[in-house]
Symmetry: C5
């Protein structure tokens, strides 16, 4: 194992992301047993998204320590699994408040997987970068559309739970703000010809802390508060 | 650990399969504790099939990164354990609907193990490739015959559960379509003299996503829906 | 990690044993929580025997891939832990049917551990091979004697459970047939001067599939069937 | 893996910290299932802090064995995750006694994370060391202020539980005394120009034994005693 | 990973200790969930002592296979964690029978940790070997005194449980006999100038089998028998 120095901020950010994701995974795994029945699935999905993050961050750090920058594919591999998982978590979170169609579920999962895949194709030059960027953007906007104006928003709005509405509001915000960094990074590497000298990885690691750790903990907190609220009602 | 580049689609597909299988394993492991008593075994068997997949995909990726292509034996080693497990999962899924003989169980397990073993013998030139291909094909058709026209189909048909029937329909379809890629790959490498330049591994990894991940998740979903249905009945 | 080729049947058999033992371990671990109280211990002991097998098969495969054959000590290390565990499993399986003395327990454990140890001393030339072979044989026959004509057989015979009797019959048969390969291998390497060119390891791996996997699954199946039978009685 | 000699006290202290943290992690993980509902979260958070410690101590030891001293970043990476976790544990411990605002929670978490981050910036020369040291000191004093004179202390004081009050007293003392070593070490490396020849790592490892192991075990003991007390009341 | 040969008895003893400790760890972990409430802690502490043993034996074996003997520090690192854990296990075992003071607990833990630490200081020449040996001996005799004539013995004697008294008798005997090998080894290496050519490690591995495996299994057996006895009373 290569040793990194104190001044290597990129390696430090990878390590913090690595240990933070490990802590998040274990907390959410344990937490999935503490919440009400309906809430186990969304919490578990967030735990699994964090678990996958451990693997992809670990491998990206190895690549970084090997000394030639981090090929962007390492980030995409992790996202290709964790993003559909998080979209599923949001779906099942909304589903605790009311019926949602299986069709919506499949649309969300497939679109989020395609969004990552198309961006990757652009980055790897298998597809024209501009085209890939635009298609990826459309997919992302579609997801945001579903979260803000779709059936999930309706169901949450009509729910009686106060904590659930507030939780959904914050989670949607995390997805809106936190996921915006990915098309931005995609834009910079694909058009501005930027190569990753470590600073892009730092940005992605910070985004991971927001998107995987804060997202998961917010789902667990919502689940715990709603479970408590329901028990007292 | 060798570092792979963004344009190495084969390595990326191995990594996605690796993380996807890890996510599936954990989800199904957790899920096996959420479903009704009778359903724990089929869900657990799918979880174990995905777990074995983690190991075999990891080793296949190591072989790929070592730079000389992936010897096809790496795929066969994984299948030799996961295919009998999945056939068992389908058997115990059907058994939740009615009595099935132990003899059928052993026939299914032995035939599915032999199917993989015979194909391997052909690939490794320990047996004449044409003969091995044909025997493997016969074994596969036997399995399909049992699933479509055998006792398992009878038991499912006569069951009252709507979700169970639909679940069995989809699972059988996955096995029919998804497993068809293996004799096809077997045919191409054994007769057409194709050597794996990475594209065969990509195809096998895609098949894994369908056969191990979608299959397992479908079993879990069926189990969860039937458990819910039974609880309300 | 060294890459092995498709034609390396020994490496393939190690890998199949490795993944098969991992699958068995997880299945039995999960299964030990599904059976009746008295049955948890025998199932858990089989799970642990399979777990130890993962470690010893993994290390034996590393030795094989390093290219100089597998020193037979790798097999003995695994057996020295797994064989006493399996004898214990059989003891606690019989004890579900009636009282057995602690003295019998210690005799079985010590004799099975000594059997492996003496054979090892012979293989390593620390003891005269013929003498070691004969002492090992006597220990093995003693164990078989206990299983066929001893107190365990009495207790099982007088039990009312049909599944228990049948399970004990099959498990005893596995031990009789499956464990016979070890003195045979011991004989071949110690007297016939055979060195392991890979075929002995294949034979031992096949024996492992029978002795660790089939044995453990048979214990789990017996436990599950007896638990069900008792619940309905 | 490099082999270290008996006289290498630094390596020995890393190894003792490593195994001690592993033991603590497992004990607290198991223990979190033994205590009352409200106590599971603080115990689990301490378990996770110890788990993260395993990773960071392991990597620090690797760096040490590679022979060029331990870059201080290895310690900071671990603290950046474990310190906020321990502050959270103390918060949720106090919360078992009464209502605490979510605002206080976020202040504690953010301040403890910033404290570690600012010190790191100073050590890595990204910020002026004196400034970083002073800001870190202010953050630490703020945390101590909250623990001694803030809302948490009020809530504990007004609680009826004797064990809880005593537990909080000891835990606060551990944080006060045990965490004092970090600004001290920070001072020595940042101003006195001290480089780590191993003795600083020994001091940090001893501090870890106090801060992560004793802290976690004290939380578990408090939780167990309060749970017992409540059950008898 | 270095490959060891069949005639390397030291490597074989390390491997047997490694797999045996792994088996013990898993058995005790599972077992801690099978026994009565009060018994979970002593069983879990023995499980953790065995778990720590896995780590230290694994690293000692790596050192041995690297070819320059096993620096004695590898043994001491393991003992520094496992011995206090086992003394705690004995304390909590006695505490199931009656009240014991927290002061006694801390004396036992601190003395057992110091015993290992002082011996290490002697071996590493940080302290005069004779002095270290004598102090270590005094600490050991103090522990034996507590076990034979102290408050723990009183509590056990006055307990009504037959199995508990017998279990305590055997466990104390294991500690008396099994731990005697450590001062003996300490004496030989410190005074007789013996360096470890492998035979000392074999002796220590045998002692581990007695002290960690037999000790843990005896605690589990006592716990299981007492739990059963109490349930029937």
């Amino acid at each position: 194992m290569a040793v990194y120095q104190t001044s290597d901020l990129t390696a430090a950010s990878f390590s913090v992301a690595l240990f933070g994701l490990a802590a998040t995974t274990v907390l959410l795994m344990l937490g999935s047993a503490w919440v009400g029945r309906k809430w186990r699935l969304p919490v578990a999905l967030c735990a699994i998204a964090a678990l996958v993050g451990i693997g992809s961050v670990f491998e990206a750090r190895e690549a970084w320590l090997a000394g030639q920058g981090v090929p962007v594919v390492y980030h995409y591999v992790g996202w290709s699994v964790s993003m559909p998982l998080q979209v599923m978590a949001l779906f099942f979170l909304a589903r605790t408040a009311g019926r949602l169609s299986a069709g919506l579920f499949w649309r969300l999962v497939v679109v989020s997987a395609l969004m990552v895949f198309v961006r990757y194709l652009g980055e790897a030059q298998f597809m024209h970068p501009t085209l890939a960027f635009l298609i990826g953007l459309v997919f992302w906007l579609y997801l945001l559309g579903e979260f803000y104006f779709g059936r999930m928003d309706d169901v949450i709005r009509s729910s009686t739970g106060d904590y659930l509405r507030r939780g959904y509001f914050w989670l949607r915000l995390i997805v809106t703000v936190g996921w915006a960094i990915y098309p931005l990074g995609n834009f910079l590497t694909a058009f501005a010809g930027m190569t990753d000298d470590g600073s892009l990885s730092i940005a992605y690691n910070l985004a991971d802390i927001l998107n995987r750790m804060a997202f998961g903990v917010a789902v667990l907190a919502t689940a715990a508060l709603v479970t408590e609220e329901t028990a007292h009602a």
